[in-house]
Symmetry: C2
Subunit: 251 residues, 2 copies
């Protein structure tokens, strides 16, 4: 058995999320269906990030075991794409070292959240961008994002009803950049709490809209209570951008 690692992009709009669920079309599900047709037997796929319904990816990483010996690792990409719907694509593939596991081996996940501030959201972007109809004070956003970096208890930014366990996470990067009329939030961490990125973005935008800044953001973070934070930003603005691995595992 070989371990195959594939980098994936998908448009999350028409999926219930990454993970196979009792009902609905999942990214993991269409991958497993495609690989089953390709292999002639069921193939279990593991993903680095369990993206929610409507969340997109340009750099999700998946791994699976394959008993097909005739296809070189890099050619799995095209073979897989022949069996996948057009809203999921393999961008790259390779044979990974034995023991590689897309989720457990990952050392860092990078997400990006895109918010358009133009007076009109171009229709071609409507599935892939959040839209707020006002100018954003980039300096205030940046000051708030800076507070997120580092090791914190992120209870305020997890979802109601999330699994128990430690809510402490270490954020390696947390910043806002402007690209034309679009504000892009980038966050990198080893792992995230459920809906953490969308809750951080939703809270930052909510504080900014109400004239607040770093003091209010610090108070939310310190409250360790979901009810202190703002709304969850919509899924459509969020992309799983990249997953990093130890170099020994061929990142």
């Amino acid at each position: 058995m070989r371990v195959i690692r594939a980098t994936l992009a998908y448009d999350g709009t028409d999926f219930v999320g990454w993970q196979v669920q009792a009902a609905g079309r999942s990214v993991q599900g269409v991958l497993q269906e495609g690989l089953e047709r390709m292999h002639g037997h069921p193939v279990r796929v593991v993903g680095a990030g369990r993206t929610d319904s409507g969340v997109h990816a340009t750099g999700q990483v998946a791994s699976f075991l394959s008993d097909i010996d005739s296809i070189p690792g890099p050619r799995f990409r095209d073979a897989m794409n022949a069996y996948l719907p057009h809203d999921v694509r393999a961008l790259e593939s390779a044979e990974a070292p034995p023991g590689f596991h897309a989720r457990r081996s990952a050392t860092m996940r990078v997400y990006r959240y895109y918010t358009v501030t133009a007076p009109v959201l171009m229709p071609h972007l409507r599935r892939h961008r959040h839209w707020v109809r006002r100018n954003l004070d980039l300096e205030r956003l940046r000051a708030m994002a800076g507070l997120i970096a580092g090791e914190h208890d992120f209870t305020s930014f997890t979802a109601e009803g999330a699994a128990s366990g430690s809510r402490v996470r270490t954020v390696m990067d947390s910043r806002f950049d402007a690209e034309g009329d679009t504000v892009v939030y980038t966050i990198a961490a080893g792992s995230f709490l459920w809906k953490m990125v969308r809750n951080i973005v939703g809270t930052v935008l909510w504080i900014e809209e109400n004239g607040g800044g770093p003091a209010e953001m610090a108070a939310v973070l310190d409250a360790h209570s979901r009810s202190a934070a703002g709304p969850t930003a919509p899924a459509r603005g969020l992309f799983l951008e990249k997953v990093l691995y130890d170099e020994t595992l061929g990142s």
Copy 2:
């Protein structure tokens, strides 16, 4: 009655085209429905270009008569957007001089056709790009595009079953540009034959794929026969980019 002129963008994927038809969702139709709800009576909308099913726009121009006196011309944009589905947006609006007619007053239409040549088409672009899985010889494309500029009988590039009448048109601009892994064809003319742009692009790509160049393209143009040309390129790569008007009409 005031004449209102609006610049529109739309994602043509889920439309049967610009024009109202017996069945199906048309851009003109959703505009007329929105304006009827806004005005309390039917409003007839005219568009500069009758885009086909699946064809997009970033700069379509529409005009209509309005008896609403309370909304300044530039504010029609937001009022219209409140009554439109998210795959059609008014980008700008203004009160136009009496007699302005989005179709009859137009002096030039500019279309762009986008073809991605990357090994994988990113899923987020799948509704808005044609995809050919090979490198394109840009110099040969440019030489073929150059033959299209000027006044010609474009019978070879019109659709089977198109209305009769002169097939002579004057093309003011016809060129290919590369933007990363995307090849963009731009064509400008006062008016076009039905499916002319997609037939030109389809033919150029077909000749290129078969190793031909300007000589083969000239032969197709001179044949004055649709059967001499190549396939029609898919609608999803085509955008109505811009419509120009005489400055006296406030272009």
